[in-house]
Each structure stands twice: as structure tokens, then as C-alpha cells.
Symmetry: C2
Subunit: 198 residues, 2 copies
């Protein structure tokens, strides 16, 4: 038996499909929405649909955008000869927030993960290779420091071996402000291995 | 500067207004939505709006429903002379799930909370008093076991003092299966106070 009205039951089910939202949270959110002013609910409902329907991948870097070409790729203030390769748009945003990177990006929209059936052809690697036929000085591999991210970085660096393009990988190590006590062993060893002269 | 496209920024902002969803979660949810099949996103978007636009309060018990009168109030299998008073529709559902309660409900849509400016006139008390002019044997006060819930129960029990209607309050005590060690002092004292003969 459904304890809630049909439309509420449907709403709880739809919210419950979202990642990290369990049955209880879905109920809580649904009731919050039912008590919100209708105008606000319209805003939320159309924001969801608008974002999705206008979402496309940038023709250059494959980031999620709502334009044919994203603002970063379209900008002539950026250094288009330096391409930072990231897994997804959120990673791009993380680097943009530093305000210090002036190159452009390439968003793979994933990482190689054979266990989950994600092969090199399933991510935006072909698009990267096409871009690299242009005038590129450096490719910075900024995939995540996970098994998949490392494998993807390794794979790309091998692909680019004889192209003459400089290929770099962002450093792994102890997070700034991090207490050694709370840092995992692999990171500690990585930080030791990548130590620099002072 | 906005790091995301306009529609994505708007979506993140809208999701971030929901309770328990911070900036990071909103970003994560937004990107999940951007990667969902468009058909699913349409379902989610319209589930939100449909639930809200069809939401109304039951003419009898004031629960949230999408009909003029909710299925429980409309049922002739329920005992309409016993009314359980709860704070909101989720509390009603909690008791419905037990499958053992056969009376009807009255949903106050809140609890008295003078600190937050919620006075007796701000909850569905007037509607309860009107119902009680009919043929009612018992009012079970099942507001939450919080300061506000207790105050509301107390307030209602005083209102009904001389009506001849039986007024009861659900028991407070140690949760079934609860380990005494983890139960708070107030609950322990309440459980002692309300002990029953064996």
C-alpha cells in the first residue's frame, strides 16, 4: 500500500534515484518541496530541465557547457598551447577556482576503468588526440590520484611518447595544511618519493 | 565569476536551497542530473512540479494529499470516533506503517513554538476543534516527544478538559530493542516514571 498520495509517492521515488539520497532523505526533501511556495517549486523544476536540455559538450575541450564552445576555449586571453587533461567538469572548476591556471583544458568525461567496462574509446580521448595535432606545447595530466586516474594518465603519456609534446603529471603528496598523522600510507610514501630539494 | 554555464549555475543554486544539501552536494547532484538521460530528467522535473501543484490539505484531517478528502478519512473501514493528533503527514505515515491503528488522524501541520513565533492559531487546531463537535470518543495526542510536541499536547489536553472526550498521550520510554546505556537521561526517567505493573 502507498501511504502517500500518488504524486507524492512518485516524487519520493524520483528523488530517491539521485545519488546519496536514501528513502528517508527523499521523504524529507519531498515534504520540504510540498511545503515550498509554488513559485519556488516551478523555479526548481524548470532549473532541472533547463540545465539538462541545454547541456552539451564543448566542441573543443568536451566540458559540459550550454554553448557550442565554452568560455575558456573561446577566450583569447588563455594559453591554448597548454592543455590540462581532467576527468570531469568539476575538476576543471576546481582548478579554475585557484585563479592561477591560464591554459586550457580537456575534459575526458571519465577515466579508463576496465573493471567497469570503461575503455579508452569510451572517454573523450579521440577528441584530445585530434586537438594535439594542432600547436600544443604541454599536456598536463590532472586526472584523479585514484587507480583509474593514474591508469588513464599512464595510458595518455604512452600515447604521446613520440609526439615531442611535453607531458607532465600533477604532483601527489601531503595536502597543504594536512596533519601527517591523518594522511594515508600511500600518500606518505608518494610524498617522500616526490620530495624536492630546498 | 561563474565557473559553470548559466543553466548549471542556476541548477546548483536551486538544489542548494533544499534542506541538508550544501554547495558540494548540490554540485554533485547537478552533474548527476546533467549526465542523466533527458527522459529521466523530464520525469524528475515534472514529478516535482506535479506533486506540488496537486498538493492540498485534506478537508477533514488536514494531511497533505492530492484529493479533496484523503483515503483514510474517506474510508468507512476506519473508526472515525478515534482521532490521533500528529504534527505532520510523515508522522501519520509512521503510524500507518504499523498497520495496527484503525482510527483516523488529525494533522496539525506543525507544533506550538512561541520562540519561533508559531502560535496555536498557526497550526490546524481550529480544524480539530470543529471536528470534535461531532461524535468523537477519544483523542490520542501523538505529537513528538520534544519540547514543542509536549507543549502542544498539553495545550490541546487543556482545551478538551471539559468536553467529556477521552484524551490520551502516547507513552514515552525506552525504545524497543534500545540499549539502556545509549538512552538519554530524560528518557530513562520518563520510562521509570511511566513503569507498569507486571
Amino acid at each position: 500500500m502507498d501511504y502517500y498520495s500518488k504524486t507524492t509517492t512518485k516524487l519520493i521515488a524520483e528523488l530517491g534515484h539521485l545519488p546519496g539520497i536514501g528513502q528517508k532523505s527523499a521523504q524529507r526533501l519531498a515534504f520540504h518541496i510540498l511545503h515550498m511556495p509554488e513559485e519556488q517549486v516551478r523555479e526548481l523544476s524548470s532549473a532541472i530541465l533547463d540545465a539538462r536540455t541545454s547541456a552539451r559538450f564543448c566542441r573543443e575541450c568536451c566540458t559540459l557547457t550550454d554553448e557550442d564552445i565554452c568560455p575558456i576555449c573561446a577566450s583569447d586571453k588563455r594559453d591554448h598551447k597548454t592543455i590540462m587533461v581532467v576527468e570531469d567538469t568539476r575538476d576543471l572548476v576546481a582548478y579554475e577556482k585557484t585563479g592561477q591556471y591560464n591554459g586550457v583544458y580537456h575534459v575526458l568525461q571519465g577515466a579508463i576503468n576496465p573493471m567497469q567496462g570503461i575503455n579508452p574509446t569510451d572517454i573523450r580521448l579521440k577528441e584530445l588526440m585530434i586537438r594535439l595535432q594542432g600547436d600544443v606545447d604541454e599536456v598536463i595530466l590532472a586526472t584523479n590520484s585514484t587507480l583509474e586516474g593514474e591508469a588513464t594518465a599512464m595510458y595518455i603519456s604512452k600515447l604521446l611518447k613520440d609526439t615531442g609534446i611535453r607531458v607532465t603529471r600533477i604532483a601527489s603528496g601531503v595536502p597543504v595544511g594536512g596533519d601527517l598523522e591523518y594522511v594515508d600510507e600511500v600518500t606518505l610514501l608518494k610524498a617522500l618519493e616526490n620530495r624536492t630539494e630546498l
